[in-house]
């Protein structure tokens, strides 16, 4: 039986209350400032944490786990203060580190059971949970072989399994697609998406590859040099920068006719590759307008596709280093 998100939303993890909340969170090392006055609220679902290497993503995760103290500022996870209730937070949060962390001489099955116990599960429950999550992450018979012989993709799956074994309310996934080939990358991203939707576990997933997070995240937080560059819903990101690709047929100059009609209607339209028209996407009414004009002109509407501008554009627009008000 599947369990809906609502069923699992306990206090502090509902869609209203933020799962993670930071206030002017700052972490300075002797030579670098890893986090610089970060104030952000992160809710349920899948949240992508984007930033170049060294933007402060891993530092943020370690502070949220209570593993390193913040220099100043506050942070709460699931309603608990990271400075005071680190142990409580760690029992409710799963963590998948960026780097290798699996011993070579034990099997994924044994390791996951053991780490389930380390999260406070009784042994029989840890065994059952380990079998479950290993199945979910897609480790079949190989789970009984020593991890030393695993491929990178299998290791990443085992790392994900140990983060899920204690049924956390939030998982922090640090670069889960690191080192994966394109097809494994897609599998991993689909799995992360499932954790946020089907499993009902809030997800904070980091990546320095901006494109991959926009596919699976409900929200995106962009960090740059330890500062918040932008935080908003993924759809908002894409709509603001999006265009519509339209392909029409039926007359020799079909694309030009439609383009002219759109311009007459006051919508920006430009010719695109393959005899298509690229239409500025203002709001949902744009789709209707294109459809109506095509009908009026007696054209066949072959395709109407949103062309997402990538989240990279955030960097281009704002320019790295500048901070947008949230």
């Amino acid at each position: 039986m599947g369990v809906s998100v609502e069923d699992r939303a306990g206090p502090g993890s509902g869609h209203g209350a933020p799962v993670i909340r930071t206030g002017a969170l700052t972490k300075t090392y002797p030579r670098v400032t890893a986090l610089d006055g970060l104030t952000v609220d992160i809710g349920g679902g899948v949240t992508g944490l984007v930033g170049a290497n060294g933007a402060g993503k891993s530092t943020l995760i370690k502070i949220l786990l209570g593993l390193i103290p913040a220099t100043s500022g506050t942070a709460q996870v699931l309603g608990y203060d990271v400075a005071r209730d680190g142990g409580r937070i760690r029992s409710l949060v799963g963590y998948m580190p960026e780097h290798d962390c699996l011993p070579a001489d034990v099997s994924a099955s044994d390791l996951t059971v053991h780490l389930g116990q380390m999260s406070g599960l009784p042994y029989p429950a840890a065994r059952e949970r380990a079998a479950d999550v290993l199945r979910h992450v897609g480790l079949a018979e190989e789970r009984y072989r020593p991890i030393g012989g695993y491929s990178t993709g299998m290791k990443q799956r085992a790392k994900l399994a140990q983060a899920l074994v204690h049924d956390p309310r939030l998982v922090l996934l640090d670069e889960p697609t690191n080192g994966l080939d394109p097809s494994s990358r897609d599998d991993m991203l689909a799995l992360v998406r499932r954790i946020g939707t089907d499993f009902g576990i809030a997800v904070l997933v980091t990546s320095h590859l901006l494109g991959e997070l926009e596919r699976i995240s409900d929200h995106v937080v962009v960090l740059d040099s330890g500062r918040l560059l932008r935080a908003s819903a993924t759809t908002e990101f894409l709509h603001r920068t999006g265009t519509l690709l339209v392909e029409v047929q039926g007359k020799p100059d079909a694309d030009r006719l439609l383009g002219q009609a759109l311009l007459d209607a006051g919508v920006r339209a430009t010719p695109a590759d393959g005899r298509m028209v690229e239409v500025e996407l203002r709001d949902d009414a744009t789709h209707d307008l294109v459809r109506d004009l095509a009908v009026d002109l007696g054209l066949g509407l072959v395709r109407m596709q949103e062309r997402h501008h990538r989240i990279e554009d955030v960097f281009r627009e704002g320019g790295a280093g500048s901070v947008h008000p949230v």
């Binding site: 599947g2 370690k62 142990g87 963590y95 053991h114 116990q117 009784p122 020593p146 204690h166 049924d167």
Partner: protein
């Protein structure tokens, strides 16, 4: 689709989706106990690959073999040889078999300590509820318990054999009791120092070598000094030197506290020296624990 209640053939796999966990979540004590038991089992290769069982199990067998022979001789030829006590004193046995004990500690300390640092598995432990001090103390406790089992097993075998050979129950119980306390102290001294060395080296081979060299070299130097000092009439020098090897140190404690037969040329004499030996034991154990806690404060995972 038939339901199981109709008695339909089983073997149908249902995708039951993700199931949340609603059962109990145990506290830090239970977590620490689970970590302790796993560490203890791993020290003897249980729960690890078949290859990693060979060395610890082999060493345990080698530790028991001389005790078995001694018991056999005692039971069979007690009257013939006119024996009225153990052929080798309980307190001397660990000294005699120290090479086996040292190899065990040297091979298993890295397995418990360096391994988590080398593979950075420590991160996964630190990201879980137990505090890092708990992790450090439990790891050391596992290694101490494993070493104690190795040292104590032959002593218990000799004790049981002694009773079979009709040695006096009260006297033997008292002696083996003291020897078991000594075994615990020896295990603690060896495990704690070995753990500290293993925590400072990430590479397993290096840690194994470092621990063996440390234990063998200190004993050899101490034994040499004790021999020379005994021969030249400067026993005090040898007595002080005895605190610098875990084996001579703990044997000295047993001599002082339990009046056990000494296994060194210059056992501690007098209360002052006895107290010094006790203090040195405490410093060895607690100092190593303190240094370990300091070492792990820097570990970020």
């Amino acid at each position: 689709m038939s339901t199981p209640s109709e008695g339909a053939p089983t073997g149908v796999i249902h995708d039951i989706g993700y199931r949340p966990y609603a059962g109990p979540r145990l506290g830090e004590g239970a977590v620490a106990w689970a970590l302790f038991v796993t560490g203890l089992r791993n020290s003897f290769g249980l729960g690890r690959s078949g290859r990693s069982k060979v060395l610890p199990m082999g060493l345990l067998a080698l530790m028991l073999l001389p005790a078995l022979i001694l018991v056999g001789v005692l039971v069979q030829a007690k009257d013939l040889l006119g024996l009225d006590q153990q052929i080798v004193a309980y307190s001397t046995y660990p000294m005699t078999t120290q090479l086996l004990i040292s190899v065990f500690v040297a091979s298993q300390a890295p397995a418990l300590i360096s391994r988590d640092l080398r593979f950075r598995t420590i991160t996964l432990y630190l990201a879980r509820p137990a505090r890092r001090a708990t992790y450090v103390l439990v790891r050391m406790a596992s290694l101490t318990a494993a070493t104690f089992l190795l040292v104590a097993a032959p002593l218990v075998l000799m004790y049981v054999g002694g009773l079979l050979a009709d040695l006096p129950l009260g006297r033997e119980s008292q002696r083996v009791g003291g020897a078991l306390v000594g075994a615990l102290l020896l295990a603690a001294c060896l495990a704690c120092t070995a753990a500290l060395v293993a925590a400072l080296t990430i590479r397993r081979g290096l840690a194994v070598t470092a621990v063996i060299v440390l234990l063998l070299v200190t004993y050899t130097v101490v034994a040499t000094i004790q021999g020379i000092s005994a021969d030249t009439g400067h026993a005090r020098v040898g007595e002080v030197a005895g605190i610098f090897s875990p084996y001579t140190l703990v044997n000295g404690v047993q001599v002082y506290v339990f009046d056990a037969p000494h296994a060194t040329r210059t056992p501690p004499t007098g209360d002052g020296m006895g107290v010094l030996y006790l203090l040195a034991t405490a410093v060895t154990v607690l100092g190593s624990v303190g240094a370990m806690l300091l070492r792990y404060r820097k570990v970020q995972g």
